[in-house]
Amino acid sequence: MSGRHRWVSRRALLKGVLAGAAVSVGLPWLELFWDGKARAGGLFPKRFGLFFWGNGVHPARWVPQGEGAAWALSEQLAPLAGVKDVITVVSGMEVKVPNAIPHASGAAGILSGAALRVEGEDNGFAAASVDQVVAAAIGQDTRFRSIEYGAEPGSGLSYSSASSRNPVESSPYQLFDRVFGAGFRAPGEVAQVDPRLALRRSVLDAVREDAAALQAQVGAADRARLDQHMTSIRALELRLARLEQDPPALAACARPLAAPLADYPPVDGRAQVSAKNRIMCDLGALALACDQARVLSNFMTSPVNNILFPGATAGHHQLTHDEPGDQPQVHAIVLQVMEELAYMVEALRAVPEGEGTLLDSCALLATSDVSYGRTHSLDEFPIILAGGAGGALRQGLHYRSTTRESASKVHLTLLRALGVPAASFGEGASAAYDTLSAIEA
């Protein structure tokens, strides 16, 4: 996928968007603000990105040949050809948690580094997911602590703690409205401070006092729930306070000229995963460019998702188990997923920042809930990294583990690259105390 081709397709895509809203298509949407507006020099904040998809890959067709800087894309990684020089494939890693419940265990293991919490017939994460660990460290200075989205309606797997799960935005319009609707101020836009911001903060103050009073009356578990609630209220207050200050003046920041469609209904019973994903990736990149958040999680599809992908004769998950032989349909779906990952990487790379691009300051982790979808295996786990984390990560490599190292090492490497002073990541057999020095700059 060449950069040029990308712009063409982006514009074509936008035409579809605008046609629905009866808006003139004379203005290209995003690039108007980016072309030739690169700001010279300057320091840019480090950002974290996550790209998550459900139902894994086929490891035999996934793992690249060659190691280090001399490697070739595998069959299933082929769609990443256009971004090969900015990604690093990490293979041979293992998610070292008990595989108690297929898909759920792997997702908890790869995202939180901890075994799935199973209580009776229910389950969930036992620890915060990696995006929220990062957000706790670098999400304090932006309007949003983190942004979660996903093309498939669902809840995503972003956990602030075991009992608190952040819902994802699955509507492009809602994502747009949240970031660029009321309350967004582009650089240079002169706006008087809205007195309502301070009033909203005083309301939140009062609400927090109510919660504190209520805590005295309830049991320990509910006190902890209220603690979470109060922490989130406090975070919202801080964000409102930031709105009263001047917005960050990053040159690449711009208010999108048009809103996405309000709805992307299924076409012939098939969800518009790709169309939604691409618009949300564009919006997400712009949100980072405007420093509205520094943590961006894309839960494109979920574990066990049964989405009918274009060309498939059955749902994704059903195919991973029912399709015989080499599973050509599952393979085709993995390729479609990789095309979407390529789009996200390109969207970040399309934003000029200083002498380089937004992607240079990002550390993007792309992974899934299982390795081989057919057997729910957790070894030979699919992991792709993109971006340079502000010069802390090497790019364009294939790192091959021959000792089935814990996948948590990747997370610890990313945390350190982002400047988070973490001593370890993960728990028990999954815990990592060392980084993968081969991919560190």
Binding site: H103, G120, N166, S202, V218
Partner: protein, 583 residues
């Protein structure tokens, strides 16, 4: 006690249709289908269980007098370990219902709120356990501001809540009157003088800043709506373990109307009358007689059968030409109307839900069922044709399409629905690390039954799938969207099987086998207990659940009767005291 029903507890066999029992979404969002906790209710624990089945039959047929399930202990004498009070977040539906109660039907309720996840297959349990997310707080703030702006900006809506004439921009007296009255309804208890003062100070300050009484008051309203006292249903008990009047009024009203108490119920609570059983039951009967009780009963069954998932029904339209966005919501309406009709209009034996020919269809569903549409627009009553074995709940598009794949049926998913939702049995997830593919259809093995045969005959696989699949295979005459067919890949469908010792041939005998199953009535009582109290069935609560179930069975499976029995029981009215050290 161990949960009973699944022969595959302990080392479970591999699944050949793993889409079924896998947990499709972490944190209990989707098909979390298993309900009995491991310490749960077992029929072995039921007194007189040897005759329970027979007794159930007699009771149902004869109206409850002739059945011999043994003497029913008064509920006060059933051993019951009081359960702790719970703190439930309002579901999105309850949030909207409460706003419409207080601000009027015209208020536009914000659609985007914290999502309600399921625990143990029910949102009612999920909202008692999950914490509000960071994003949820943001959504609640936006919703509160939106509603406050609406109410204060629309003269008609405003007139409903502002009854006094403000004498100035920051008329504190008038503000206090409005906020105190609103607060009592929204927080479902009277506010203390300090609480009102605080809200008035906030509103008056905002009014001064913005130069508007209405805008200022809007901030007070937004504070009421964001407060945990509104967002959570807070419960408290007294020293004797009785739920206090406000908590009891809320339990009652949310159970029966899916919203907060009305004025009459608040007055009764304030007067301290609800501690009297007769008054409590009188209020319960008043609420049940009101049309809003249909909202409450719909909410329960919608939660139980996960009918909200019909909004996201995915079916390949090239395989199912009838598929459209209308199908899912229409199917939900059919199921809920049928339940409403049985529970309220006919007040019939609940077990008829398995075998009724009477149903309610719109044009879309009539086309899928291949019957004449009963009405040009909307829903009308239909008597399903005798020739097609479509009867009751398991013959409805809602269950048939939800418990299936996007392009095909799933015997396992349908079996899991029957086992977990209708019989409260446990189906564990499949083990990991196995190739779980089933063979594709061939000339020699064209039907799903043929394709599943190898696995059903392997003892390893069959220990789980023998439990779920035969029930589901009986529904193979209905395709993945619920259309009737007699052939799968041009071969006649074999619908024979067995349910816990009772053989059946075809869907109709299967419906009857489920209806007559000893756990069928007990299961509904258990689900209702969980829904009303937000407690899983734990050891200390099990005998009470059993007793409620036995009464439901003995009383002719009357759902309204079950509601009243539950409301009068200690499980509903009492909580453990001393919250320190509670789990």
């Amino acid at each position: 006690m161990l949960a009973l029903g699944s022969p595959c507890l302990g080392g479970c066999a591999p699944a050949q249709d793993p889409t079924a029992a896998e947990t499709p979404d972490l944190g209990a969002q989707d098909i979390s289908s298993n309900d009995l906790s491991s310490e749960g209710l077992s029929p072995d624990d039921l007194s007189g269980q040897d005759t329970a089945d027979e007794g159930a039959q007699d009771a149902a047929d004869g109206g409850g007098d002739g059945g011999p399930p043994g003497p029913l202990l008064p509920l006060d004498e059933v051993v019951y370990v009081r359960q702790p009070p719970v703190m439930r977040r309002l579901t999105a539906q309850q949030y909207g219902n409460a706003l419409r109660d207080v601000f009027g039907e015209d208020v536009v309720v914000p659609a985007r709120l914290e999502p309600d996840g399921r625990v143990g297959g029910m949102k009612a349990l999920g909202v008692a356990q999950a914490a509000v997310s960071g994003r949820g707080v943001e959504l609640y703030e936006a919703a509160a501001l939106e509603v406050a702006a609406q109410v204060m900006g629309d003269p008609q809506l405003r007139a409903r809540v502002v009854r006094c004439a403000p004498t100035g921009v920051a008329d504190e007296g008038c503000m206090g009157e409005v906020l105190g009255a609103l607060g009592r309804r929204l927080w479902r208890r009277p506010l203390t003088a300090e609480e009102v003062d605080k809200l008035v100070r906030l509103s008056a300050g905002a009014a001064d800043t913005l130069g508007s009484f209405e805008e200022g008051l809007g901030f007070g309203v937004a504070a009421l709506l964001q407060s945990p006292w509104f967002l959570y249903r807070v419960e408290a008990g007294d020293a004797q373990g009785r739920l206090d009047a406000w908590s009891l009024a809320s339990r009652l009203s949310f159970l029966l109307w899916d919203t907060g108490p009305d004025e009459a119920l608040l007055v009764a609570a304030q007067a301290g009358e609800l501690s009297t059983e007769a008054v409590l039951l009188g209020q319960a009967q008043r609420l049940l007689a009101d049309p809003r009780a249909r909202v409450g009963v719909r909410a329960f069954f919608s939660d139980l059968y996960e009918l909200d998932r019909l909004d996201e029904l995915t079916k390949a339209s090239e395989v199912f030409p009838h598929m459209s966005d209308e199908v899912g919501p229409s199917a939900r309406e059919e199921t809920l109307r049928g339940i409403e009709d049985l529970v309220f209009d006919e007040r019939g034996d609940w077990r008829q839900i398995m075998t009724r020919r009477k149903t309610f269809l719109n044009r879309k569903l009539a086309a899928i069922y291949n019957v004449q549409a009963p009405a040009r627009e909307g829903f009308g009553e239909v008597e399903l044709p005798l020739e097609v074995p479509r009867r009751g709940l398991l013959g409805q598009v809602s269950v048939l399409a939800l418990s299936a794949h996007p392009v095909s049926t799933s015997a396992t998913l349908r079996g899991v629905f029957v086992r977990t939702k209708l019989l409260c049995q446990v189906v564990p997830p499949p083990p990991a690390g196995l190739d779980t593919s089933i063979p594709e259809a061939t000339g020699e093995a064209p039907t799903l039954r043929d394709r599943l045969r190898e696995h059903l005959e392997s003892p390893y696989c069959a220990s789980c799938h023998g439990f779920t699949d035969p029930v589901g295979l009986a529904l193979e005459p209905f395709d993945g969207i619920g259309r009737y067919r007699t052939r799968d890949h041009d071969v006649l469908i074999d619908g024979s099987g067995e349910l816990d010792g009772r053989a059946f041939d075809g869907p109709q005998q299967m419906y009857e086998a489920v209806r007559d199953h000893e756990r069928f009535g007990l299961c509904l009582a258990q689900k209702l207990y969980q829904y009303a109290t937000a407690h899983e069935v734990v050891a200390g609560g099990a005998p009470m659940v059993e007793a409620l179930g036995a009464r439901f069975v003995a009383g002719g499976h009357d759902v309204q009767g079950l509601l009243l029995t539950l409301i009068a029981s200690p499980a509903f009215r009492e909580v453990s005291t001393g919250q320190e050290g509670q789990p």
